[in-house]
């Protein structure tokens, strides 16, 4: 092939051609974006509901090679939708973990309404989680599981693991789990100081409405929407970029109401008393000591997390689990790096999967293709 000098007429023509093509694609994608057509379908990795209680559901993802004996159970947050971890095909954490060889389960709390307004932390820690984990054990025949809690799901996961002596947990992985609420940013600080009260935010249904939660997240950086839209405009020609942008925007706007009773408990105990920093919490009539679990605990923090800053998540590494069974990992990116973005699939998830894999027992491979980690931590298929 003949080399083309940067300023040659051939090069200029190629650039004009490329720009014209991109302009046409921009126009097409722009119309689609404005009309709201061509939106990607989210959370579509095939799954089965294997357990249900009230609105809580336990999903088991189909397929994958299943190389490890301990199933992986993801506990999602009460605040946002669980599909951030199963955003789109080829951009799904669940799909990645399944293809790595884990038997992946996810607990989804559903969308609370008046019926869930009385749900407290005890409802999740003592009622739903033990039953969901029993269902996983029944379904798989495994003796132990790896429990992965994301954001507030991490708090539920470590309360369950420490509050139930018989909890069959091999590994406890906490992803961006808030422990020190003094470091949680200005909105939480306003609740600490009493400038805002829980009842200011709870509506007639007894829950904190989804739009209040969305406003809270939006007001953390209200002008970034300008930068995001400018970046979208520049990349509007790129179908994959537009799809990813639409998926993440939809998830960001798609908050769910927060059960009112649990929210009051969170404001009184977690936020105002910062009780998790004491290493125990009185819940359901007993004090839960965070060091009683026999599980190996991995505390994972995102370096640029604005929702749960590193300083808010870091103390989990010193408070949860036995001192000789604690490990820590810092990954690049923000709060959503566990579910979306180039860094998630290039760095975060391979590191996470490698750690969980090395702390699990290898079972016999059941089906599908096998995966192995290469030196750069990205996954490559082997025949």
């Amino acid at each position: 092939m003949r080399a083309v000098s940067p300023g040659s007429p051939t090069d200029l023509l190629a650039r004009v051609n490329r720009d014209m093509e991109r302009s046409l694609l921009r126009a097409r994608n722009g119309v689609r974006y404005v009309r709201g057509t061509n939106r990607p379908k989210l959370g579509v990795t095939p799954k089965d509901v294997v357990w249900q209680r009230d609105k809580a559901q336990l999903w088991r993802y189909r397929g994958g090679p299943r190389r490890f004996e301990q199933p992986l159970v993801i506990v999602t947050s009460l605040v946002s939708r669980s599909y951030i971890l199963d955003l789109m095909p080829t951009s799904s954490s669940v799909e990645f973990l399944r293809d790595y060889g884990f038997d992946v389960f996810m607990i989804d709390w559903g969308i609370p309404d008046e019926l869930e307004a009385a749900n407290r932390f005890e409802t999740y820690v003592d009622e739903y989680l033990p039953r969901a984990i029993d269902a996983v054990i029944r379904e798989t025949g495994a003796k132990e599981v790896t429990l992965v809690g994301y954001c507030l799901g991490g708090v539920l996961a470590f309360l369950y693991a420490n509050g139930h002596q018989d909890a069959p947990i091999r590994n406890l992985v906490l992803l961006a789990t808030p422990v020190n609420y003094r470091e949680m940013g200005p909105m939480v600080a306003a609740l600490v100081e009493g400038r805002l009260d829980a009842d200011d935010l709870i509506d007639a249904t007894g829950n904190v409405p989804a739009d209040v939660l969305y406003s809270g997240f939006y007001m953390m950086a209200p002008t970034t929407v300008v930068a995001q839209n400018a970046t979208l405009l520049e990349n509007l020609w790129n179908d994959e970029f537009v799809k990813g942008f639409q998926a993440v925007s939809q998830w960001t706007r798609d908050q769910v109401p927060f059960p009112g009773a649990a929210f009051r408990q969170m404001v009184d105990d977690l936020i105002r008393r910062n009780v998790l920093m004491e290493g125990s919490w009185r819940l359901g009539g007993r004090a839960i000591d965070f060091t009683t679990t026999g599980a190996t605990v991995l505390n994972v923090m995102a370096s640029a997390d604005r929702v749960v800053p590193r300083a808010a998540a870091a103390p989990a590494g010193e408070l949860v689990g036995r001192p000789d069974r604690r490990e820590e990992m810092v990954v690049k990116g923000g709060h959503a790096t566990f579910g979306t973005g180039r860094s998630a699939f290039k760095h975060t998830l391979p590191r996470l999967a490698d750690w969980i894999g090395s702390h699990s027992d290898s079972g016999h491979e059941t089906k599908g293709k096998r995966w192995k980690s290469d030196s750069s931590s990205s996954l490559t298929a082997t025949p």
């Binding site: 909105m187 306003a190 100081e193 400038r195 935010l201 002008t223």
Partner: protein, 96 residues
């Protein structure tokens, strides 16, 4: 990255930093709380008036419907609790 995008991003950060410090300040949260409380009290007053008017015509008001929904939710919660208790008792009996 094209020059225009660089400029937009730089401008966004220049403005954004100031906006963020404003919306993260104590007066902002005082204002939010004040607006929420005023909104709730205004809604309460308007609902009170509309309720009286609707009741004159023997029609249910939004607050009546809300109260019924709350009662229904309470009843449903109780039913769910009872069915869970029954389920647990049956499970224990089966274990024995």
């Amino acid at each position: 990255m094209p020059l225009w995008l660089k400029l937009v991003l730089r401008a966004e950060r220049a403005v954004g930093t100031r906006v963020e410090s404003a919306v993260h300040s104590d007066p902002y949260f005082d204002l939010v709380a004040l607006i929420n409380r005023r909104k709730a009290s205004l809604t309460g007053s308007v609902e009170g008036v509309s309720k009286r008017i609707l009741h004159l015509a023997n029609l249910p008001a939004g607050t009546d419907i809300r109260r019924v929904r709350e009662q229904l939710a309470r009843m449903e919660r109780r039913l769910v609790e009872l069915s869970k208790e029954l389920e647990e008792q049956r499970f224990e009996r089966e274990l024995r």
